[in-house]
């Protein structure tokens, strides 16, 4: 997206340009305003947190609410649970999607296209449709109210498999031929030649999984029962329910803390995340 435009078009665009930038600025203010308010309010003292006029910039930061939120809920446990669940899902998805994507892209076997169609079709199945039987399966497996109940069903990924297949199809074929001439087995060709080249593709799968499952609310709400197994979003909603509107800065401090990992991904992996999110549109 270059900023260069032919001089002629520039002149025809100019009159509306100020208006366009104004519209964009208003939209950006409406988008970022609530987040800035959340940050500033979390840095007010609990007793001042619902005072008006509101604050959008934290001019006199007060960290009482950040201390308080650790006393109100077991923040450490929530963070550990969320991190465990999210990381294990991300790693599991990266590994299984790379393997399956490689098979669909580069191995020859019977029924490949039919099987791939079935995998793609599962993308259309919303999680809400399968949640009741999944809940029962989890109970049957004796995994009720464990973190594994959240992790295991989330690992097989149709979208990740699709992305990895595309990625492997985009890699040159010559390496496979060279590896075969050297007498490498299909596994060695994958492990030593193609898998290292596909790390950027796996990063997309991992970052997408992280972003989605870190923020996930519906499945944890159903599949976890005791508070020891709550993840962050569930813990924060429970805290909000318990505190009511008494000291909103404490809840907001929790909200801000829960955003930090997503913010890190946003800063360092925004491009990857953007590409991954929109990749589904071009299938």
């Amino acid at each position: 997206m270059s900023t260069l435009t032919a001089p002629r078009t520039t002149r025809t665009l100019r009159p509306g340009m100020a208006a366009r930038i104004l519209v964009l600025l208003v939209a950006a203010a409406l988008t970022l305003g609530p987040v800035l308010w959340t940050l500033s309010t979390s840095l007010r003292t609990p007793s001042e947190s619902f005072n008006l006029p509101p604050q959008f910039l934290p001019l006199n930061p007060d960290f009482t609410s950040y201390v308080e939120v650790f006393q109100q809920v077991n923040m450490v446990l929530l963070v550990v649970n969320s991190a465990l669940v999210t990381l294990l899902i991300a790693v599991g998805q990266m590994a299984t999607a790379a393997l399956a994507g490689y098979a669909f892209a580069r191995l020859s076997f019977k029924g490949k296209n039919a099987l791939f169609s079935v995998v793609l079709a599962t993308m259309m199945v919303p999680v809400q449709v399968t949640i009741v039987p999944v809940f029962m399966l989890i109970r049957g497996m004796g995994l009720s109210d464990t973190l594994l109940a959240l992790i295991l069903p989330a690992i097989p990924t149709a979208f990740g498999t699709f992305l990895m297949r595309q990625y492997f199809l985009g890699l040159p074929n010559d390496f496979a031929e060279a590896a075969a001439l050297d007498g490498a087995s299909p596994w060695r060709t994958f492990r030593s030649v193609y898998a290292p080249l596909a790390v950027p593709g796996m990063a997309i799968v991992g970052i997408l999984a992280f972003n989605f499952h870190w923020n996930e609310f519906f499945r944890p709400l159903i599949l976890t029962i005791s508070q020891e197994n709550y993840t962050l979003p569930l813990g924060l909603v429970t805290l909000q329910g318990n505190l009511g509107t008494g000291s909103i800065s404490v809840v907001l401090a929790g909200v801000i803390l829960s955003m930090i990992p997503a913010l890190v991904v946003f800063i360092f992996g925004q491009r990857t995340l953007r590409e991954g999110l929109t990749a589904g549109a071009s299938k």
């Binding site: 590994a95 393997l99 399956a100 098979a103 009741v132 690992i155 994958f190 909603v237 829960s258």
Partner: protein, 319 residues
């Protein structure tokens, strides 16, 4: 999705006439591939069989039974499906969901399109990056967290929204305690978080339109709105279609926002289809009814996806 060219990528064909020894090596290799392929596929395919295929079949079966997990399941025919029409709560929830989808998706696509077109003009690159990052930002947040702080912002007494309205002389709006207000908040909060996704799709689509077409139409005297309607929009139609389908499919599944903001209230005014699935199954222990509602929702999603392929053949203008 048939991919006939796929086989060529596995190295079973080469342009040069093969020598005997390399042909034998290749045969051996393809045998090895056939033997090892199941191991590559197993984690994904077995996992999907257990956690997606079996549950769908289970859901279909369960939809024809009344079952509370404790007593024996009782076959009830289509009565769980009839509930969707007859039970007032379920019926209202489906109607709410459909109204929500229409309003939220229209707003989401309209806002995203306007902003995507606005960002095309001449401006410093850092400003363009800033806008794009700002619109993208809500996508990385959890809908539950967003609903928590939005709930405070829309609070009737101390909420910032009503405080701002009071500055221009508008009396406090009971956002979350009236049916209309609560429904509006759910739509606004949802659109606030999701318009950035459609925006990303639209700027991708706009970037793929050749600049010469705009220049040529500008030479012909087409500017502004006319250029948008006659040149940009037809060329963008594939993106618009994909963006609409993706937006509709995800809006049909709305749950987090109304659950956190209103728990479906006041009354049933913000209860959605997925909330009824959740409540039927895990609060009323009506697992059969929950499954039936889930299946109807899935059929809606599949119908819309199928419609996408139909429409894309007929109306979408491909270059």
């Amino acid at each position: 999705m048939s991919t006939p060219t796929l086989k060529n990528t596995t190295g079973t064909t080469t342009p040069a006439p093969p020598t005997r020894s390399s042909a034998a090596a290749r045969r051996q290799r393809s045998l090895a591939e056939r033997l090892i392929a199941p191991l590559f596929l197993a984690p994904t395919v077995v996992g999907m069989a257990i956690f997606t295929i079996v549950p769908i079949l289970g859901s279909i079966l369960l939809a024809f039974f009344r079952w509370d997990i404790i007593s024996a399941p009782e076959f009830v025919g289509f009565s769980n499906f009839a509930d969707i029409v007859n039970d007032p709560t379920v019926r209202v929830s489906f109607l709410n969901t459909i109204v929500f989808v229409v309003v939220a998706v229209t707003l989401q696509l309209g806002i995203a399109m306007a902003l995507a077109v606005a960002i095309q003009g001449r401006m410093p690159n850092w400003l363009r990056v800033f806008f794009r990052s700002a619109f993208f930002f809500p996508l990385i947040l959890s809908a539950a967290s967003v609903s928590i702080f939005m709930g405070y912002l829309f609070n009737e007494q101390f909420g910032v929204v009503n405080w701002m309205l009071s500055l221009i002389g508008i009396p406090a709006v009971p956002w979350l305690t009236t049916s209309g207000g609560a429904a509006a908040v759910v739509v606004l909060v949802y659109v606030w978080q999701n318009f950035g996704f459609s925006f990303l799709l639209f700027i991708g689509g706009l970037a793929s339109i050749p600049r010469e077409l705009h220049e040529a139409s500008a030479l012909d005297g087409a500017t502004g709105w006319r250029q948008f309607v006659n040149v940009t929009l037809p060329l963008l139609s594939p993106t618009v279609l994909v963006a609409s389908v993706m937006a509709i499919v995800s809006a049909l599944q709305i749950f987090d926002q109304p659950y956190v903001l209103t728990r479906g209230g006041p009354g049933d005014s913000t209860r959605t289809a997925v909330m009824v699935i959740f409540e039927s199954a895990f609060q009323q222990l009506e697992f059969g009814r929950a499954s039936a509602i889930g299946l109807v929702l899935m059929m809606l999603i599949m119908a819309i996806t199928a419609l996408q392929f139909r429409l894309s053949r007929r109306f979408v203008f491909y270059q």
